[in-house]
């Protein structure tokens, strides 16, 4: 039987740089084909070829054995190929039903029937979302369901998922995987791109690894252990992923939070962080981790409680006050909050602390270049020129620019919110090394992460949040995913006795 889709010898270069070189890729009906590789390996470019968004320089696209020339995304959709991108393409102000049938609306619209059909599609996926609801009111997970329903409404034979679980909580991600399995069983061919290898292993029938615009190999999950897959991706075994944790020398207390209440439903949070310590903040997405971080950083208002920084009362009302007191935040939304994407790398690095490189409000160019160059080397940021915009960098290097910005302020406390989200495996390791280095330099570090392996690999202890409360604390012998989830999901558990002062 001919493969559903066959890409043969695809080559594509942008302005003389090879993004894809001689790539062969095929997809059968009723299979999930996992696609992994570091950022910049060419996964997304390949899927954009498949989705008709870009035309390859050379190579053939065969659909069910016949050579086809895709003229654009609309053409690909007509032939039954849907790509669900990381950044969703829904119209936020339209209803669920309108979004599902957008682009395929008949001239005379029978809204009642359309809503009925939308409800059917969504129920086929095992969800119950009102077809009349406005998309901007839905959770990210539900928006993703709408995207899938939209693809299904077009008699789709191929669906490409590009990092679909990156923005989902653990529970929602599980449901999405169930949906994908259902789609596979009904004969749809699925390409699944993810950095989360456990997911790939769970659902993929075959896995293709890409690196530097080429296919490294296509393997089956049964015959390939995780660490050899990672080695294919980066040329480095798994055991080195978290790096060697240096001996921690815990010093005096830097931050103490007592009975913190926030207007957005966070109640009675108390903890302390000391110098040289890496403290994790775990729990489900939406449990209040980010809110606590933002409150400590002065980005959101506080409604009650007490904070102490370096033995002095600390109540920042703006991020400016927090930065001046020696606190830094690497926010979870890197592109929206961490960096100015269009601005030069150099300018991003010195943004939070320009004092050492300015005189009377004007930059001293040589001093600035020198300082930035030192940080680039020290953090091993891979770039062409420090005068390129940050947008020219890969996700991991962008994150390092955010880190460089805070290294430059020399904070006493640094909070990292999902520091490795959308970062490839190789850069993850380097970011972990930097976190260790911050602690070794005597800074207090708070790490928020939805990846439990990351919390356990990185932190000395992990505070677990659930529904706006601090539910408990885990230390090394108890570093187990189940314990963390149980704590986070348990209801009405009294806060630990010694924390109720």
């Amino acid at each position: 039987m001919a493969a559903l889709i066959q890409l043969e010898d695809i080559t594509k270069s942008f302005a003389g740089i090879h993004a894809l070189t001689g790539v062969n890729f095929d997809l059968k009906a009723g299979e999930v084909h996992g696609l992994c590789g570091e950022n910049g390996a060419g996964k997304s470019t390949l899927m954009r070829v498949l989705g008709g968004e870009i035309r390859p320089d050379t190579g053939r696209t065969l659909i069910e054995g016949r050579e086809e020339r895709l003229t654009g995304p609309t053409d690909a959709i007509r032939r039954g190929i849907s790509v669900i991108h990381q950044e969703m393409a829904l119209a936020p102000d339209l209803s669920v039903a309108e979004n599902i049938f957008l682009g395929a609306l008949p001239p005379g619209i029978n809204w009642a029937r359309l809503r009925e059909k939308a409800r059917d599609l969504i129920q086929r996926l095992g969800f119950d979302i009102a077809p009349g609801a406005q998309v901007s009111d839905l959770s990210v997970a539900h928006q993703q369901v709408v995207e899938i329903a939209k693809a299904l409404s077009r008699e789709t034979r191929v669906i490409v998922f590009d990092e679909p679980t990156a923005v989902l909580s653990t529970g929602d991600a599980r449901r999405l995987l169930q949906i994908i399995k259902g789609l596979r069983d009904s004969g749809v061919g699925i390409v699944y791109i993810s950095h989360r290898l456990d997911e790939i292993y769970e659902i993929a029938d075959r896995i293709t690894v890409m690196k530097d615009g080429r296919i490294v190999d296509t393997v089956t999950p049964d015959s390939t252990p995780v660490d050899s897959l990672i080695r294919m991706m980066v040329g480095r075994p798994l055991s080195q992923l978290f790096g060697d944790k240096p001996e921690t020398v815990v010093g005096e207390e830097v931050l103490r939070v007592e009975n913190l209440d926030l207007p957005n439903g966070i109640r009675n949070v108390s903890f302390a962080v000391r110098r040289g310590e890496v403290v994790g903040l775990g729990g489900l997405v939406g449990s209040g981790r980010t809110e606590v971080a933002r409150a400590i950083f002065g980005a959101d208002p506080v409604s009650g409680g007490k904070m102490t920084l370096k033995n002095a009362p600390y109540h920042p009302r703006t991020p400016r006050q927090a930065v001046r007191s020696g606190v830094g935040l690497v926010p979870e939304d890197r592109k929206g909050q961490g960096i100015v994407l269009d601005m030069e790398i150099r300018k991003n690095v010195t943004m939070a602390n320009a004092a050492p490189v300015t005189a009377a409000g004007f930059f001293r160019p040589a001093a600035e270049r020198g300082l930035v160059q030192k940080l680039i080397q020290s953090l091993r940021i891979k770039l062409g020129s420090m005068n390129d915009p940050v947008s020219s960098l890969s996700g991991g290097n962008q994150q390092k620019v955010v880190l460089a910005k805070w290294f430059n302020t020399d904070p006493d406390l640094i909070i990292l919110d999902e520091p490795t989200r959308g970062v490839d495996v190789g850069a993850k390791t380097e970011i972990y090394t930097l976190v260790h280095r911050l602690a070794a330099e005597g800074k207090a570090v708070i790490v928020i992460s939805s990846e439990h392996a990351e919390l356990f690999g990185l932190c000395d202890r992990v505070l677990v949040m659930g529904e706006g409360e601090l539910r408990g604390e885990l230390a090394p012998p108890d570093f187990e995913e189940e314990k963390l989830l149980t704590l986070s999901m348990a209801r009405r558990r009294p806060a630990r006795a010694e924390m109720e002062a």
Binding site: A15, G16, I17, H18, G40, D212, G235, F297, A299, T318, P319, R320, A322, V323, R324, L329, P331, G336, Q337, G338, I339, V340, L341, D342, M343, K347, M351, A352, A354, T358, G361, F362, F363, P365, K382, L383, G384, S385, D388, S392, K405, T409
Partner: protein
């Protein structure tokens, strides 16, 4: 293995020729040169020193206001009140020169413009009110105050304002003084935008306000400041107009806000904030001046000129975004 990876990184990050960037950076200059060529072919009178100096002098008020407008637009804002503040500047100049020494009088006028900007900027930056509405209100109010102060009548500078009028109508280094002042302010604005912390943050705020705020920078102060600058420069423009005509009038600068915005946009600045430059804004001002000048020299009637101007603005913006259009 390592060696191969290194070369790949190199290739990936090598500086490549970026069409869209080139269009944005040099598109304005190319349009300007084309216009000059057309103008020269049209009329021998165009490239005479007298005519060039004329264009520079005519555009000095618009140019000075365009500097402030560029700063405002870089933060993703808009300032509709510049024409009215220029009118208020013009009227107050004619009034205060009668009773104060010249430097004091000028400082008062510029301070008054800055105060107007401060009011708008404070409301926009700290109360997060829409710039369009607030400066629209300031546009109405400032013009109203100018009308009240002048009683709707032009006020002549007279004896007391002779030194000012002397400045406005004479030349230094062969260039009309108002044009020289405009050029000086453009140079200053260039230095501030490109080399100062303030300029850098103004641009950064327009690109990603939240990232700047979360870097520990007090965004509202910077946003407010650009409106103060815009107001002060609008008042300067009012002084320039008055120095040339010898009359303070509440009808100065009517509709100028649109010319100023057009000049900044022709200069390639994005109304979405974060992108735009001082040199291109200057060229944008000159393009606007040259277009009017060509049509005058060619004897195009005034009403027709407005239609052509509209078309030319669209063409200019199309050329700057040419690369995006070509890619489709």
């Amino acid at each position: 293995m390592t060696e191969k990876a290194a070369t790949f990184d190199e290739v990936q990050t090598r500086r490549r020729f970026n069409f869209s960037k080139a269009f944005r950076q040099y598109g304005t200059a190319v349009i300007f040169l084309l216009l000059v060529l057309v103008a020269q072919a049209q009329s021998d009178a165009f490239l005479t020193e007298r005519n060039v100096m004329n264009v520079l002098r005519q555009m000095s008020g618009i140019g000075v206001m365009a500097i402030g407008m560029l700063y405002v637009i870089l933060t993703r804002g808009i300032d509709l009140s510049v024409g009215s503040i220029a009118a208020l500047g013009s009227v107050t100049t004619a009034i205060v020169v009668q009773s104060y020494p010249m430097p004091v009088a000028l400082a008062m006028v510029v301070g008054m413009g800055a105060l107007c900007g401060l009011v708008s900027g404070f409301l926009i930056a700290f109360f997060r009110l829409p710039a369009f509405v607030i400066t629209l209100a300031m546009m109405t109010a400032a013009r109203g105050v100018a009308l009240i102060l002048s009683n709707g009548q032009p006020i002549t500078l007279g004896e007391a304002g002779q030194s000012l009028q002397g400045f406005g109508t004479s030349f230094s280094l062969g260039i009309p003084n108002p044009a020289l002042l405009m050029i000086g302010l453009f140079v200053l604005a260039f230095i501030v935008l490109n080399f100062s912390r303030f300029g850098r943050l103004v641009k950064a705020i327009g690109s990603n306000e939240e990232a700047v705020r979360l870097s520990g920078i007090s965004v509202p102060w910077y946003v407010m400041s650009v409106y103060v600058i815009s107001g002060a420069l609008a008042a300067v423009a009012g002084v320039l107009v008055t120095s040339r005509s010898g009359v303070g009038s509440a009808s100065v600068g009517a509709g100028n806000e649109l010319d100023v915005i057009a000049a900044v946009v022709i200069g390639g600045a994005s109304l979405m904030g974060g992108s735009g430059g001082v040199i291109n804004t200057f060229i944008g001002v000159m393009i606007l001046g040259v277009i009017g000048n060509i049509m005058n020299l060619a004897g195009v009637p005034g009403y027709h000129q407005q239609v052509y101007l509209g078309v030319i603005i669209v063409v200019a913006v199309l050329i700057q975004n040419g690369s995006t259009l070509l890619r489709r």
